[in-house]
Symmetry: C2
Subunit: 228 residues, 2 copies
């Protein structure tokens, strides 16, 4: 692979603490590949051949049961994804497709598992990563079970704002229809949810969202109180 993006990947929590030589083996054994938009990278049910690291672009993870599908996650760079399937060597539960042209580092799953067993720091990082991902899913499930749609949208906006800098301006990185699916509603109802939030401190201009009144939005959305 080219050297340009190595530092950024090496800075990921997953690889940060591991042995330098072993990290080189990760890079040496991997492929950095460019994919066009709207391309399916893998499908749920397939055997996991690679750990994926999104270096640049945008990826959707979705899942389905019966004839309905739902967006599970929108992956932004630089992040690894589908770690759990690789660790357990069990079929993917989600389908991945690019939303934009994307550069993705493909680390052979067997190599990942081998290095995990050789490098304690990597194993520990994997363990922590999984534990954090687990917590994220617990929150997502609670969100879905206890809040109605406009509240979920409000909380999503609050979280997005927190993840970025201060200022209250949020740029939606994906289409609204995708955000709707991520939040477990239809595009029509997302639209209506935005208009509900306009009475609670949120201003919408296309994909530019402004949280004008953080207080009001928080009061409406009842965000999680437990930190991290």
């Amino acid at each position: 692979m080219r050297t340009g993006e190595k530092p950024e990947i090496a800075r990921l929590p997953l690889f940060r603490e591991m042995d330098e030589a072993k990290r080189e083996r990760v890079f040496a054994g991997s492929f950095l590949q460019v994919f066009p938009p709207q391309l399916t990278l893998f499908e749920a049910g397939q055997h996991p051949d690679f750990l994926h690291v999104l270096v640049d672009g945008l990826v959707e993870l979705s899942a389905s049961s019966g004839d309905r599908d739902t967006t599970m996650r929108i992956v932004e760079p630089v992040t690894s994804f589908i770690l759990a399937a690789v660790v357990n060597d069990l079929p993917y539960l989600m389908t991945a497709r690019t939303l934009e042209a994307s550069r993705i580092l493909l680390v052979p799953a067997a190599l990942v598992r081998e290095l995990i067993n050789q490098d304690t720091a990597l194993m520990q990082a994997t363990m922590h990563e999984l534990a954090l991902a687990y917590r994220g899913l617990v929150r997502a499930l609670v969100d879905m079970k206890t809040r109605q749609s406009a509240e979920r949208l409000g909380n999503y906006l609050l979280r997005q704002q927190a993840r970025r800098q201060e200022g209250g301006l949020i740029q939606l990185q994906a289409e609204k229809r995708l955000l709707a699916s991520l939040l477990g509603m239809t595009p029509e109802n997302l639209s209506r949810a935005f208009s509900v939030l306009s009475n609670h401190g949120v201003r919408v201009e296309g994909s530019n969202i402004t949280i004008a009144d953080h207080e009001a939005l928080s009061a409406f959305a009842h965000p999680d109180k437990i930190p991290v």
Copy 2:
């Protein structure tokens, strides 16, 4: 702690492969305690002091946002729970309370983290456990987002049957109101969901459920196709 339940605990995936001497340290540093029914063991937001292993009894894990709560999991023996919070040393996201009188092994969180870092087999087991738990939550979230209530109940019954022996008889271990909350519905609607399923191969007699026609129920509930 007494010796009677050691073998059963040692057989858990989490402790099974680890160094014998280290496992003795787990037992030596832990407390096996008996709790009455309806007792809160810990609350969401608290700092995790113990990894819990339910040896006997029944425990509910629940979570809330704002004024609504929801059952996240019903823990049956012999199982460890809240591993993720202990590993990350981050506040519990869920509240635990006993449903029946329960015997629980309390393993100090600091000890768990110390031994994980000393024993590769334990760390690996923890990693696998977390990855499996992650997959379980992915399925739960997809379930909630893509299926309606009677389908969720149908799938729950199919999964329960698969986890136990053949025969089609399922005994609900907890109250129906709890099952309702676990499945993200009200007790009233659980009742109605059961009566819907009576047209699809399910027979209900109190807390004894029989899957009389596995085919019919599967056709109705669209169970997950991806194994494990």
